[in-house]
Symmetry: C2
Subunit: 193 residues, 2 copies
DNA sequence: GTTTACCCTTAAACTATGTTAAGAAATGAG
DNA sequence: CTCATTTCTTAACATAGTTTAAGGGTAAAC
């Protein structure tokens, strides 16, 4: 099994030995995910971390009225999982599904824990990965509490220009915490300067 | 130097040997921080991670109009730092200051990196610490994009009942992303059921 | 123990965002 | 290629949250 994109990703943080690479490959699965296919359903256990090699997935929750809220997008090079549920073993409250045809590398909980024990630098690598994601998320919180929808949309376009091309605006609106109708108005306002 | 609260904190994740405890103590400083004293100023470098043993600190940014936005509170048992700036070595955009008289244990960057190299289980421990903080932050983002101010305030009270006693409402409003005036209205609405 | 600075509340007018509904445009599946 | 579905836009009206201003209450600091 060829997990090269994932290996490359790890090696962008720290070099790995041949043995380590082989051990990682032996514990990773490659999976093709079709558009709209779910890899996690609310109420089920989140059994794996997923690394996105191609395409894009989203994690979202659905409230009692059936409204969806996008918590996270994960495109090429990003990770996605319900981290809390993954470690606690409790049923997830979130869904994860592909918004485009995608290829992901998944690591099951037992395999990830085994890898942590065998390759201690993976603790370091994942610590750095999640630190980076933490900082991103903190910036998002800051945007949410300090900026108008216009500013948040402009920031999103600046920070994720590729996603803007690839995602329908309904999905972006859900991520920004506004309605698609209002996003439409925001875009009109911004387009005429 | 007695860093027992910090040692206890680490040992709530994984046990440490005597040698490890001593090494940690040798790289940690205990600091008393007075109310309103700043331990980080925007424009300066964030040189240390701080573990709060007593009291409470906040991290906030100030926009061009002089308005403050509270990104995070850290009370007993929590960590606080501008993680992005700490690792990148770039000037911070945030302030960190005590909202109560506090006692913190600080670790300088060089010391923390040294500890990571000498005690590899600290990579694991900090990975878990930040995973937990990530999950908390993700829930906060979800609240921000899905809930009204009333719901966000109720959640805050539920999740941080002690902080509600200890912080002025202005600080909580800034954390929730609303004005103090509107929080006052929210509190009135909620108080009469 | 005053005094000063900060904090809380209220209310009216204003602005940002949500809701509903409907038609037009774009896109995916067969 | 074409149908079915999803997405985008517009507009009128409704609600959530802000601004400004003012008075009274609390708590920190000297």
């Amino acid at each position: 099994m060829n997990a090269q994109p994932l290996i490359d990703h790890f090696e962008s943080f720290l070099p790995l030995s041949d043995t380590e690479r082989q051990l990682i490959e032996s514990r990773v699965a490659r999976r093709i995910v079709r558009r709209k296919e779910e890899i996690l359903r609310a109420g089920h256990l989140c059994r794996h971390y997923s690394f996105v090699a191609e395409g894009c997935l989203k994690m979202y929750v659905v409230d009692t009225k059936g409204v969806n809220y996008n918590i996270q997008f994960a495109a090429e090079g990003d990770w996605i999982a319900d981290i809390g549920g993954f470690h606690s073993g409790k049923p997830s409250q979130a869904f994860i599904e592909a918004v485009e045809p995608s290829i992901v590398f998944t690591i099951e909980k037992e395999d990830l824990y085994h890898l942590y024990r065998s390759i201690s630098k993976l603790d370091r690598i994942f610590k750095v990965i999640i630190e980076n994601k933490f900082v991103e998320l903190q910036n998002r919180v800051l945007q949410n509490i300090s900026s108008t929808a216009h500013e948040r949309y402009r920031s999103f376009v600046e920070q994720y220009p590729k996603l803007v091309q690839r995602l329908p605006n309904t999905q972006i609106a859900s991520y920004l915490g506004i309605t698609p109708e209002f996003l439409s108005k925001v875009r009109k306002d911004l387009s005429r300067h």
